[in-house]
């Protein structure tokens, strides 16, 4: 019996190679088998971690610091499961989206590699790379996985071949490359001081000395560049908006969450001594600025995909709030048990927000893709009458938007409730205002789209018959993602229990404080 911890990495990477070599007729079954098998492995890992606690594996039998160890605690397993669920549903959408005559594929020559044939190997590569990142317990190995994630993401962006996509991919590549170098420099400094690359060993030995501070600052700078936290978010909107719809969904839902996950590992596991209250507040203020800036840009966006992409910039800001909320809650009580429920709430709320955002944002990008295919454009002001033509898609977009706003019964509500609870319990009113105010701004841009979509159709517009018939799958997949967001709101206990396994702030009280 091969451990699920290894299967979640090996299965998608093997699938990627199979999809590359077995093109043509075999591609669809290969993609389907790889998707189902990876999803199954992710489920198995989540069950194993829930039941038996964190899993570790010393690769080649060489333990750290000589070798590389893989480790999956609740956070890792939850990220792997989130990736599996989003990637499976988006992959189902992509199967139809890239069918000849459906998506916006350009003319294909006789010897060419079609968009569909290029998509699947790159897609499975991205999936395997994300999983490898989530289960790695070695800071240099994480550097390699970050590169795998970035390069597969960029290859998927430029797949469409349009000039905008090329320019956006180039900007993303330069930013991500700089981020990798900064991260690697931090790794070099940590290794020089502590003779280890293993996260567990580093967490036990790192101190708060200036050189560790510089190393962690470099890694942080590199990772916020890759996560696109304000003010280094400049590359994200165009890169996410100009990619093919399934790719946009994965980039916004999963890829930025991946580098954010690494940030959490660095702050909470590699160098917890560095995470002072002041440092935490810097991130909190950047997060608050990101919420404001991203939301305002989303409000004034002309294209639907740009609106959704700017919304990602804002939501990334929300994730960062977990850092000051957790740090202050942990510190104000001097680390005694009384402060833990608030710290655990902040930690759980922030991660749950990453989780609910993944489903909501993937649903929104897929919905935007369906709209573009049906109408031939995604100009927000010209979406009138959309609710009658694509009711399921508008419903999916609206429900996902409700989750982003943070209203019940969606998953986003649970996340924001936990964050708000932690902010109030520790008297951090600034962040409480940011959490609530950001929700209002989100409501403005979500309802802007929904209200236009429910407007009566322009009488001058061509009748529905003039439009291409939209394949059913393209309407169903965004709705399924939105429904998962609803399920997260109704059944938050399961993912929160998983998240509690090996967490830095194990919840003493039940979820919700």
């Amino acid at each position: 019996m091969i451990e699920p911890l290894l299967l979640v990495v090996m299965v998608p990477l093997t699938g990627a190679v199979a999809a590359l070599l077995l093109r043509g007729r075999a591609l669809t079954p290969v993609a389907a088998i790889a998707t189902l098998a990876t999803f199954g492995a992710a489920m198995a890992l989540a069950l194993q971690v829930t039941e038996a606690g964190p899993q570790t594996h010393a690769i080649g039998g060489w333990e750290a610091p000589l070798g590389i160890e893989l480790r999956a605690d609740g956070l890792s397993a939850l990220m792997v499961l989130m990736t599996a669920a989003v990637a499976s549903i988006v992959g189902f959408y992509a199967r139809t989206y890239f069918r000849p005559g459906v998506g916006p594929d350009a003319a294909v020559g006789p010897s060419a590699w079609s968009e569909r044939e290029a998509f699947w190997p790159l897609w499975l590569f991205l999936w395997g790379a994300l999983n490898a990142m989530f289960v790695s317990a070695d800071i240099f190995n994480i550097y390699v996985t970050l590169e795998l994630v970035t390069l597969s993401g960029i290859a998927l962006i430029v797949l469409g071949g349009g000039t905008d996509a090329l320019a956006a991919g180039m900007r993303y590549l330069l930013a991500a490359y700089l981020g990798s170098i900064a991260y690697l420099l931090g790794v070099a400094l940590l290794y020089a001081e502590f003779d280890s690359l293993g996260i567990v060993a580093l967490g036990e030995t790192t101190t708060g000395t200036p050189s560790v501070l510089v190393a962690v600052a470099l890694m942080t700078a590199g990772l916020i560049l890759k996560t696109a936290l304000f003010p280094v978010h400049f590359w994200l909107p165009r890169a996410h908006a100009n990619a093919p719809a399934p790719v946009s969904a994965a980039l916004s839902a999963l890829v930025v969450a991946g580098s954010f996950y690494v940030l959490l590992r660095i702050w909470f596991d590699v160098a917890p001594a560095v995470l002072t209250i002041e440092a935490a507040h810097v991130l909190g203020i950047l997060g608050a600025a990101a919420i404001l800036w991203g939301s305002l840009q989303a409000v004034r966006a002309r294209r639907l995909k740009m609106l959704v992409a700017h919304s990602t910039v804002a939501q990334i800001g929300y994730w960062c709030l977990l850092v000051p909320l957790t740090a202050v809650a942990g510190a104000t009580t001097g680390g005694n048990a009384a402060g833990w429920p608030a710290a655990a709430d902040a930690w759980n709320g922030g991660i749950f927000l990453v989780l609910s955002h993944a489903f909501a944002k993937a649903a929104m990008f897929l919905a935007a893709g369906t709209v573009t295919i049906t109408l031939g454009h995604d100009r927000v002001d010209d979406l009138r009458g959309l609710a009658t033509r694509l009711p399921m898609t508008v419903l999916a977009f609206g429900a996902a938007g409700v989750s982003l706003i943070g209203l019940p019964p969606m998953g986003g509500f649970v996340a924001k409730f936990l964050l708000l609870d932690a902010a109030v319990a520790t008297g951090q009113w600034f962040y409480a205002v940011v959490i609530l105010g950001g929700g209002l701004l989100t409501a403005v841009y979500v309802f802007r789209v929904v209200s236009v979509a429910f407007g009566s159709a322009d009488p001058a517009a061509p009748p529905p018959a003039a439009f291409a018939r939209t394949p059913r799958v393209l309407e169903v997949a965004p709705l399924v993602l939105a429904l998962v967001g609803l399920a997260l709101g109704l059944g938050a206990t399961l993912p929160l229990n998983l998240l509690g396994v090996g967490a830095p702030f194990p919840p003493l009280a039940g979820p919700g404080g």
Partner: protein
């Protein structure tokens, strides 16, 4: 100054030159070269870190990290050049457009 420190300080100097080049040079090829310069400075630092005492053999782990890092850098550079070249063929521009209008 030990040899380690000399190399390490030179590495930092190269890193800053590369960073400045990346920030001020609009030409994509120069930006990619600046990133390569920065990457090489980190490799130089790692090689210096590997040799901080009089052992007959240097620490092999940073050497392996450099070899892995070189392949990663070559890969990123090659993809960047391919995108830049395609962008130039399609638009005739050798630099990126401004991000002022992001709507």
């Amino acid at each position: 100054m030990t040899p380690f420190l000399i190399y390490a300080v030179i590495a930092v100097a190269i890193f800053t030159v590369g960073l400045r080049g990346l920030l001020v040079q609009p030409h994509l090829l120069r930006k990619v070269m600046a990133l390569n310069l920065m990457g090489s400075s980190v490799f130089l630092l790692l090689v210096a870190i590997a040799r901080r005492n009089a052992d007959p053999a240097p620490d092999p782990v940073p050497h392996a990290m450099v070899l892995t890092g070189i392949v990663v850098a070559v890969s990123s550079t090659a993809l960047a050049l391919a995108v830049a070249r395609r962008l130039y063929a399609a638009t005739g521009r050798d630099h990126l457009p401004d991000v002022d209008d992001d709507a």
